[in-house]
């Protein structure tokens, strides 16, 4: 930017604000390009594609709402997959939060070896996806797994955790509870940042532990709880590696998650249009559950800086 100084209008070129804006756009340019190519463009394409029948070989054929209609009318597997995913999310997300919060509260006591305990609970979070699934397949192995052999030591009868259609979703939910390291650490940090005056004031009033928890701890933690629930929903609606590796959706489609059904349609049957339509349903599921959370948030999430 050199001075040209021709007319007073060129001042705009020299103004710091204008130059800053240009520089700023240059800085965010990578994101803009990436968005257009890999997010925004594909979003539009996916939406359009969902109204077409396209199996990659012949050119796409306009299909109208047929995909969306056949989801409800003919594709029974779709209904199953929605139900499986919904059950998983509805159970896994809240139970994870309770467990993560419980562990965080425990770690927030005056305990020795905090680093060790925290690592023990956090460690599974770095073992995601395939490796974790493989380990749990071996845990759940009907004859050789540690779960059934451990039960045998206690004199209890083992079950076929991954091949019993009544149990299998529960088994995957238990596996998902193993990966609560991230929400736990977020809760712990929030607990450690808690203003102590509140507790001191409550002590002077003679409040008990339980009432302190419900009157102070929980409201102060509510933004963290809210955040973790939303993130948990986004991740668990998209569950894929666990059913793909552990059960292949079985037995009897009892773990046919939406992500898996979608993957099968797109990459086994090459039904690209139908898979796109399903992806939008997945988005609506995430969006709906998130908006629902935001709607509820006003009632229970407490922001220190005032109402939001």
């Amino acid at each position: 930017m050199t001075t040209t100084g021709l007319t007073p209008r060129s001042n705009i070129w020299q103004s710091r604000r204008f130059r800053d804006a240009i520089v700023a756009y240059a800085f965010i340019l990578p994101w803009v390009i990436g968005f257009v190519l890999f997010v925004g463009g594909p979003i539009v394409a996916s939406f359009v594609l969902s109204f077409f029948r396209w199996k990659m070989i012949a050119p796409p054929k306009f299909y109208g709402l047929t995909h969306y209609i056949s989801m409800v009318t003919t594709d029974e597997l779709f209904r199953i997959s929605i139900w499986v995913t919904f059950k998983f999310v509805i159970i896994s997300v809240p139970v994870s939060q309770v467990l993560a919060l419980g562990l965080a509260l425990l770690l927030n006591q005056r305990i020795r070896g905090l680093g060790f305990w925290r690592s023990a609970f956090y460690l599974p979070a770095v073992v995601s996806g395939v490796a974790g699934s493989v380990i749990w397949m071996w845990m759940y192995h009907v004859e050789l797994g540690i779960v059934n052999n451990g039960l045998a030591l206690l004199g209890l009868e083992g079950r076929n955790w991954l091949y019993d259609r009544e149990l299998v979703l529960g088994s995957l939910i238990v596996k998902s509870l193993w990966n609560i390291g991230i929400p736990m650490v977020i809760y712990l940090a929030a607990l450690q940042g808690m203003p102590q005056q509140l507790y001191e004031a409550a002590d002077i009033d003679g409040s008990g532990e339980v009432s302190k928890f419900f009157a102070i701890t929980l409201p102060m933690l509510s933004p963290a709880i809210f955040f973790n629930i939303v993130m948990g929903i986004i991740a668990s609606v998209q569950t894929f590696a666990e059913p793909y590796v552990m059960t292949k959706g079985g037995p009897d489609n009892a773990t046919l998650f939406l992500g898996l059904h979608l993957y099968n349609n797109a990459f086994h049957y090459l039904k690209m249009g139908y898979a796109s339509a399903m992806a939008w349903i997945m988005f609506l599921l995430i969006f709906g559950l998130t908006v629902f959370q935001f709607g509820l948030a006003g009632r229970w999430v407490y922001y220190e800086g005032g109402a939001r």
Binding site: A24, I28, P42, F121, P124, V126, V185, Q196
Partner: protein
């Protein structure tokens, strides 16, 4: 929760005459606000030990199996400690070759390429974008930032099919390019995380440099980035774990075994080695998760700070 604050008024005075000081035994067992009672201590540690036992059990079971000789894998009841310890399982798991499959180091190489590229690209591009949102003013700033955050809600499934088609047109399916290129354009989550961190750096530093005539680019490279090492380390560690474990991306893009990453190798292990030699399977799984575990132990602080740097209060 904090240790003793001696200036607090004596309980007698606060609660009036009806208050009787608790007995020493009671204080020892139940505790008061200055010391944790014995009963409480026992309960806390009991729950801690039990939970840690449950969380570490899968690791124990994996290591135990990985070190067993093959004949002990199928004995009942299982042996709880492998004897003799078969260190050679690790070697076997990584050197057996099934029919025409490539040797395992090929998968490791592919994973390493994707991961290193992922870490470098994520850090660089996300920091660049985050800087603009933390420091510069420009029209549409808030709308664009909101747009970036809202992409977090878009499931990968929505963009997966069109991306797949694009790579097909470019003839890049079954190469590593589709797993490398898209990450040079910033990732929403990391942009958010780094922006939050950059905002905590006092503005005086870059204002001073700006007045001295430094360009924004210089300020970014010479001032902001060096001051952000903890946050960048956190992003690096997260990115490493993410790319190392990534599964769905490689699964849809790669089809020839010589292009596979370690996660694909692990997911196919079952199929490739009929009859599932579980000791080798666990040995392979252990080796594959080891870099992430080691990384976690050496960078715990970066890791944990990274998670919590984002101010959730609002």
């Amino acid at each position: 929760m904090v240790a003793g604050n001696e200036t607090v008024a004596a309980p007698e005075r606060l609660h009036g005459a009806a208050y009787t000081r608790p007995s020493r035994l009671r204080t020892l067992l139940i505790g008061n606000r200055f010391r944790t009672g014995l009963v409480r201590l026992i309960v806390i540690y009991a729950v801690l030990i039990f939970s840690a036992f449950l969380f570490l059990l899968p690791f124990y079971w994996m290591v135990n199996t990985a070190l067993k000789p093959s004949n002990q894998v199928f004995t009942l009841p299982p042996t709880w400690i492998p004897k003799p310890v078969m260190w050679s399982n690790f070697l076997t798991a990584f050197t057996i070759q099934y029919e025409t499959d490539p040797p395992v180091y090929i998968y490791a190489r592919n994973t390493l390429i994707v991961t290193v590229n992922g870490v470098v690209s994520t850090i660089f591009s996300s920091a660049l974008v985050a800087y603009a949102f933390a420091r510069l003013e420009f029209p549409g700033k808030n709308v664009i930032f909101l747009g970036i955050l809202s992409t977090l809600m878009i499931p990968f499934a929505v963009v997966m099919v069109p991306q797949f088609i694009i790579w097909g047109y470019l003839n890049w399916l079954d190469t590593l390019w589709p797993l490398m290129i898209p990450h040079w354009f910033g990732s929403a989550w990391n942009i958010f995380l780094l922006r939050q961190f950059f905002m905590t750096i006092p503005r005086e530093y870059d204002e001073a440099a700006y007045l001295d005539g430094a360009s924004r680019w210089h300020i970014f490279i010479r001032i902001i980035l060096p001051l952000s090492k903890p946050a960048l380390a956190a992003v690096a560690v997260f990115a490493f774990v993410f790319f190392w474990n990534d599964f769905l991306g490689p699964l849809i893009i790669l089809s020839k075994p010589e292009n596979f990453t370690l996660t694909l190798f692990l997911a196919n292990f079952n199929v490739a080695y009929r009859g599932t030699p579980w000791h080798l399977y666990m040995a392979a799984a252990l080796i594959i998760i080891l870099p992430c575990l080691v990384l976690f132990f050496f960078s715990q602080n970066a890791f944990l700070k990274g998670i919590t740097v984002t101010d959730l209060k609002g």
